[in-house]
Symmetry: C2
Subunit: 356 residues, 2 copies
DNA sequence: TTGTACGCGTTATCAC
DNA sequence: GTGATAACGCGTACAA
């Protein structure tokens, strides 16, 4: 059934080595093939429809041209999390451009805690040349395993503690931007809804906010709400129960989803955004353009971060060494309607054509 | 560096065959290994940290436990298309549950037309045991190639014309439901915004609408708008320019994105939905819950369709044959606010926790 | 340019 | 019933 390189060689009256050299361009050093033989080989290959056996090639060369993509969730790879989607977009764009393929891995098994479960990491195996780890668990098994077996890897959104190559955004600075913006609009009672305690981005985001408030001479006010929209909604409801003079006039949420939850609570009480309460989020996924009103938020260049991580890994695999090991990308503030600083018309939907 | 099965055999005073049989359970028929030897082998393997070489295994067995996932877009795998996201979710859930891995492929090269470009389909190769093709191009190279090299495949959202296993939704019936619903609400001037002409779902959706209208004694009214939101917006603007007595009182769009575009146009003119014009979409991606007002739409069980396609492929690989080759899943109507039949409160956001 | 050993797990063949 | 030996799959790369 399968037609091999030896079949081609036989038909072309040549050796397997000559066929290999011919069909791989002249990348193979030291082997010369004459034009006549070359042509016979090409014809023979086309005639019998030879397709190289990728697995055999991989075994012989020790390279697969596949990079592994480790995602943080179990039962859904990207779920409806805009963050993972956009990160994957950037990563895959770069992977495809470099003529690699991507193999998907999930970090944890169906059951068990993401931080401790044995997981499918055994499958970090010889089929991939390297791994891009998206938000790997702290001091996780995955990173340790990659290090043990010498698997090259780059982590996306993981601080330096575990070593290795990393790509991050400047969370601290982003929080400063958000707080400064709200202060500049005249807000003083600004509450920060912080993210999950175990997330690596939570501390710097909290710190940036606190430092900015303190430096301006105002009291920081932090409430933990998690990254889920429901947390933002629940916390906001409690805040709306406060007497008007104690209520926050502005909310800086740890991410866009949490901000949306807060907005829901505010609208449910018949208050308006940004007139009664201003809102600023964090991440600037496309999701931020779909809220009502559109969300002012700290922009992380998520697809670019993913692309950079993939680029770094591929460079590493190509033997390049002259790139920084720890990259921190700058953030900025995207001002839309939810903060009251801007009344620009809504941006068009970021969706592309849907073929269905 | 790499520790092989022969290293384990040497250390355990056993043969590679015994090691192989031991570590693969007793799946290997014909080879019996005694308990003592068995234990020595396990100890030895654990001691030197043996990990099977997946590529070599794949070469030896001819199976990789990897299924390929072919997606329709080039430069972005899922882009922000809710449809692809949800389909992938279902597919990957099933792939993971069956202890397979997924390898990603993109249908077309950076340049070139999706229908003709040579594409990366050459990479439909020995590294995967089978392919799930999401919306493969009509009579495309990809399907032909799979057939030529005997690669098992299942297509998702592709009619029967190309043969092979397919999973589809009942587009025709979905359109009937939508039209019937609007008729039952008293609408008579119902316009259908149809999708891209070359999409396989366009014709049945159009037909279901037309048949229903005709059967009820009313005139079908179809305008091509494509699947993009911008098409829906543009067409709707023209419709709003008509004299009131000629304007549609209801719009049935070929998908949710198109419906959203129409809603934008309506709101931009200061009209209200559903009071001035009622809207019904098609697909019921999570996106439909985020429009203002929430969209009444025909529900396709997209993740389930993806899961089923993956399940069928895996069954096929396992040698099962007792399943239908052409599956058409039923659709239903999800009634929300945009059609005026319902004033239920908005559903909670479908997003899970975002870890960032 | 060619012959052939090699990478590594599997499995058919053969021996105790 | 236990287990070892060797051929095999297939492209690559070095020695000849």
């Amino acid at each position: 059934m399968a037609v091999t390189i030896r079949d081609v060689a036989r038909l072309a009256n040549a050796s397997p080595a000559a066929v290999s050299a011919t069909l791989n361009g002249s990348r193979t050093k030291g082997i010369r093939v004459g034009d006549a033989t070359r042509q016979r080989i090409r014809d023979a290959a086309a005639q019998i429809g030879y397709v190289p056996h990728a697995v055999a090639k991989s075994l012989a060369t020790g390279r697969s041209q596949v990079i592994g993509l480790m995602l943080p969730y179990t039962d859904a790879f990207f779920d409806k999390n805009p963050f993972c989607q956009e990160a994957m977009n950037g990563i895959l764009r770069e992977v495809v451009a470099a003529h690699y393929n991507a193999m998907l891995y999930t970090a944890v098994e169906e059951s068990g805690d993401p931080h401790t479960s044995p997981s499918r990491i055994a499958e970090v195996d010889s089929r991939v040349d390297g791994m891009v780890l998206v938000m790997p668990p702290r001091h996780g098994e995955i990173i340790r395993r990659c290090q043990t077996i010498g698997m090259p890897f780059v982590s996306l959104l993981r601080p330096f503690e575990d070593g290795g190559l990393t790509v991050n955004a400047d969370d601290y600075r982003g929080s400063c931007l958000a707080a400064e913006h709200l202060l500049s609009l005249g807000h003083r009672r600004i509450v920060h809804l912080s993210g999950n305690e175990d997330a690596v981005t939570t501390a710097p985001r909290k710190q940036g906010y606190c430092d900015t408030m303190t430096a301006a001479g105002y009291e920081p006010w932090v409430i933990n709400a998690g990254f889920d929209w429901s947390g933002g909604q629940a916390v906001m409801e409690r805040l709306l129960d406060l007497p008007p003079a104690q209520r926050p006039t502005a909310v800086f949420a740890a991410n866009d989803l949490c901000a949306e939850g807060a907005m829901r609570a505010i609208k449910a009480r018949g208050r308006t955004i940004p007139d009664d309460i201003a809102i600023v989020g964090f991440d600037d996924t496309w999701f931020a353009t779909m809220t009502q009103p559109a969300l002012t938020t700290v922009r992380m260049p998520i697809p670019e971060m993913g692309a950079l991580a993939a680029r770094m890994l591929i460079d590493l695999l190509d033997g390049k060494t002259d790139f920084p090991e720890q990259v921190v990308l700058p953030v900025s503030l995207t001002v839309r309607q939810s903060c009251g600083a801007n009344a620009a018309p809504a941006a068009p939907l970021p969706f592309n054509e849907e073929k269905s």
